[in-house]
Symmetry: C2
Subunit: 207 residues, 2 copies
Amino acid sequence: MPRTASPAVRAALLERAAEMLTRREPVTLRALVEGTGASTMAVYTHFGGMPGLWRAVRQEGFTRLAARLGTVPTSDDPVRDLAALGAAYVASALAAPALYRAMFDAAAELEDPDAAAAPFQALVDAAARARDAGRFAPDSDPEAVATRYWASGHGLTLLVLTGVLPADALAAHAPAVAAALFAAAGDDAQRAARSVSAGWSLPASAE
Amino acid sequence: MPRTASPAVRAALLERAAEMLTRREPVTLRALVEGTGASTMAVYTHFGGMPGLWRAVRQEGFTRLAARLGTVPTSDDPVRDLAALGAAYVASALAAPALYRAMFDAAAELEDPDAAAAPFQALVDAAARARDAGRFAPDSDPEAVATRYWASGHGLTLLVLTGVLPADALAAHAPAVAAALFAAAGDDAQRAARSVSAGWSLPASAE
DNA sequence: CTCATTCCATGACGGTGTTATGTATAGCAC
DNA sequence: GTGCTATACATAACACCGTCATGGAATGAG
């Protein structure tokens, strides 16, 4: 019966939080609401506090990541598709480094725990297609391949984002790691290298 | 001429900070000094503030990590040594998860920028030995192999530490990733798998 | 011994997230 | 349409954080 909370305020707060994050501004409660004209209490009614806001921000990050991976077209070369997915993943992380780091800072707790699984599933599907197409060994486990691929890319990405490795380390090592993992999954080494090279260079220009 | 700062206070603060970190307690200035009997100003005289304390904590973490990797014995199988180094690395991270995460939270800025290079160098050396021993291709780049190995292990470790992947994912995937990378570096796939299996299981019991 | 210099303890300050209190407004019963 | 009620939201105080200005105590140099 009572007054209902406006979803516009919630969306605006979330949007502004993501924007402040990409702008490297510290996301503080008062600075956050300052821009929206809302009061500090709005964060509490909509998110229950700052931890809730962060949960929502991470959720939003994974949703956007999944959406972005969804735009990667499926070709007749599933290994190339895996590489393209990896490239899109890395490009997404580089486009909003602070958001990416926030996502994995406490990725375990999300509003919807399956949110992190959505981007991951794209990799699993591609790995399964590679197996069914005869590129990977018949007994290769798509989920295991996807996990190793993901973890390796994640580590490389984070080391670059934190400044431990130079920015060009991604281009220098990510395709090589991918090719090594795909070859281990059963693909011919040279063929894997060619597919990775083709897929990796594809969405590099994507914003 | 004046009173000289006691290194014992500095060491005690550092020790307590690391202890609070492993105990998952929030490392706050007042809580930190409470245990040592010192005052808040001690942190400022010794570290210049909390950021300086974190710098020192990260530094200490890398130093301990390098020391731990230094205890891994060198065998006549350099590929096995690489696996053993990886296992020791992961074990070290699992023993103090919060410290590990703090180390890489802003690993770019350390008191001594070369501190992060020390653990890394152990990997480079082992990769160079593998190349010189004919296990890796003569034109394989030890530094590139070490970088890819490190990044992959780092990503896998972080995903487990943050709860994204289950704890057993490390044992399930880390050796496989290592074997894939070593095979890509030129080692025979089956031989690499055997060496990795031998080296990985070695220091698993280390604390 | 003297004294200057530095360590460090005490307390105040601005900023943070949180929350108690009050107010206005949107939805439902009639 | 009118009145009631439950909820969204504003305001302001709170406890905590890191920081720093002040002052006293201790130490090493001469």
